[in-house]
């Protein structure tokens, strides 16, 4: 009789525990006993696909590696993609779909800055953790959002790094040529602040339209000031026009780009004028070029999973942000909740990935977790080289 009662009590206890566990998982969207659903959004089509589809491919190969090794605390990672076409309205729609329809647990995403910035309010309201993979707009992480963290360098950090690099290279007469659309403003305003902080005045401050087909006027005005370094806040297209016209007019300053022109090899081809990019330097969020033997493992993974693709720096963006997500999912423990994931992100300090130039450190008051941009250069006809990195305080 006593044994029978003990058996009944034991059985009831196990059932209750199982029921609690089941209820617990059911209450956390996107988490089951054996899967964690992670959403991602960015451009899958259009010119912005470099910042969307390619980082997503990088995330996918990291998830494959983790899943092949048994997942995280026994759960396999599942990636759900949504196309935002680099369009703010579409980004809001994509994020809403991931959160409410797909019921993802967390997200790694954000390719085009303006689109991700537009989606911030929706993400803040839903309090779904997001690790930004490629968008650089300061407004995405400033003021500090509750659940958004960035493993991409932000525009303010890049602008400060551009000025610091010019100074480090011994430039005395530094000029600016910039686009003044929202993308350009997001970089221009912090750059002007950085100039003020260092008590330096730019020798010239010129504008160039994103659709410009000629930069003769800008080049001539900069040349008249004898600028020895030009900080370029431009997309690749106007930057290519600028570099081409600069060479035509015999103006050869140190030209300092940013992650908008992330591939010096492609840029050299776009400029199409031999030698015009010899003094061009640009920022990379990652410390390796796609040809570097250090990323052989990831090259093989990308080229195996996506036949016809070649490893690009944009894949590496996704690989880095996915490695951060994997780490914080581990730290959040088996009883996974969004609050625990956010706490793990807030506590992430000096975490080294396979791709970023410096450690990733987040805090409760600063969700800009990547502050060490690397510098790339390409000698005419030679390979792309990593010159070093600038730590922005």
């Amino acid at each position: 009789m006593v044994l029978q009662q003990a058996w009944k009590a034991g059985t009831a206890g196990i059932l209750m525990a199982a029921s609690f566990a089941a209820t617990g998982w059911a209450q956390v969207p996107g988490v089951t006993a054996d899967t964690i659903k992670i959403g991602t959004f960015g451009a899958l089509t259009g010119p912005g696909y470099l910042y969307g589809k390619l980082p997503m491919n990088g995330i996918e190969v990291v998830f494959d590696e983790i899943n092949a090794a048994g997942g995280i605390h026994g759960r396999k990672l599942q990636l759900v993609r949504e196309d935002d076409r680099c369009d703010p309205a579409s980004a809001i729609g994509a994020v809403k779909k991931l959160i409410h329809q797909e019921q993802v647990f967390a997200m790694i995403g954000g390719g085009c800055s303006n689109a991700t910035f537009a989606a911030r309010e929706t993400i803040d309201e839903a309090k779904v953790p997001l690790i930004v993979m490629a968008s650089v707009h300061d407004g995405i992480t400033t003021p500090t959002p509750p659940t958004i963290f960035s493993t991409a360098t932000t525009s303010g950090i890049e602008s400060a790094a551009q000025l610091q690099y010019a100074i480090d290279q011994g430039a005395k007469r530094i000029a600016i040529v910039s686009m003044r659309d929202s993308w350009g403003r997001a970089r221009y305003n912090p750059l002007v602040e950085a100039f003020k902080t260092k008590n330096i005045k730019p020798v010239a401050d010129e504008e160039l339209s994103p659709d410009a087909n000629d930069a003769t006027a800008q080049v001539l005005r900069l040349k008249m000031t004898n600028a020895d370094a030009v900080i370029m806040l431009l997309y690749p297209k106007p930057a290519a026009v600028f570099m081409r016209d600069a060479q035509k007019l015999g103006f050869k300053p140190l030209a300092i780009g940013q992650t908008g022109i992330a591939d010096p090899a492609a840029f050299e081809e776009q400029v199409g004028s031999p030698g015009a990019t010899a003094k061009f330097r640009t920022i990379s969020m990652v410390r390796y070029t796609p040809q570097d033997p250090a990323v052989d493992k990831w090259r093989k993974a990308i080229e195996t999973k996506f036949p016809g693709d070649r490893l690009s720096v944009f894949n590496l963006f996704g690989i880095g942000s996915a490695q951060v997500m994997v780490e914080v999912l581990r730290r959040a423990g088996p009883e996974l909740t969004r609050e625990k994931l956010v706490a793990a992100l807030n506590g992430l300090k000096d975490f080294q990935t396979d791709v970023y130039p410096g450690p990733i450190t987040c805090s409760e008051t600063d969700h800009r977790c990547h502050k060490t941009p690397a510098w790339l250069a390409k000698d005419p006809g030679g390979p792309v080289r990593v010159l070093g990195a600038t730590k922005v305080e």
């Binding site: 089509t45 259009g46 010119p47 912005g48 696909y49 470099l50 589809k53 003044r180 010129e206 504008e207 160039l208 339209s209 659709d211 410009a212 087909n213 000629d214 003769t216 006027a217 800008q218 001539l220 005005r221 690749p236 297209k237 290519a240 026009v241 081409r244 016209d245 060479q247 035509k248 007019l249 015999g250 492609a266 081809e269 776009q270 199409g272 004028s273 031999p274």
Partner: protein
Amino acid sequence: MLLLSYLLLSGVTTGALYALVALGIVVVNKATGVINFAHGELFMFSGFVAWSLHVGAGLAYPIALPLAVAAGFALGVATDRIAFRPLMKADVISLVLATVGIAFVLRGVARVIWGGKADYLAFPPITSPEPVMLGEIMVIPQQLAVLGGAIVVMLIFAAFFRLTRAGKMMQATADNAKAATLVGIRTERIYTLSFGTGAAIAAAAAVLMAPLTLLYPDMGFAFFIKGFAAAVLGGLTSLPGAVLGGLTIGVIEALAGGYIHSSFIEVSAFVVIMIVLIVRPTGLLGVSRVRRV
């Protein structure tokens, strides 16, 4: 003086491209009374066709150019058949909306076909990229080739309108469609020819412009706006006016950027247009239609 020479050369080169875009807009508007809002996308699409022929298929530039112009003509004819012909008796708003729809379709198709290859597609230079000296001025042969090409295209189309039977019928239809019908001109065919010719001119502009810039699916609208501004400045129904308008805008942009500040480049031309239209509402070479009673 050297500064002025550089600015004038760059202004005239850019302006010649604006003029070609404006010519296409005016050709269609003169014949049909409709502004083809898909004109920028016809320009963009033709540029990509030229890229596919020249870079993708490896055809020589002199072969790729006429083929892309022919493709532009075909696209213009398709625009007429899809967006204009079925709605010919509808109000102007419906016609304009139809051309806007065509613009979005062309942009979407371009994104699907060429959007996934790179962020921007580079068109190889058709001449040596090394600069040459013209007196004291350093110029890229590419720039001269574009300017020369634009002038040749303008002359060819001027000859087409003045010397060929089709060109004369287009002018007759533009002047008075009812009278043209009465004398036996099949105006519907002329409308088709106008859309095709307008798009062919846009295609020629795109092929000439491509080596100077980079190709991307959203590039059409910016060129359309500049071409439209040039057409309005010239008088909207005047072919020489379109050329004059394009060159004027190109030169004003260059001079304002060089002598005032680069931030004036985008607005200066529009300020001048506003002033011209206040003083002369028909544009520089436009004529107001007067009916004698």
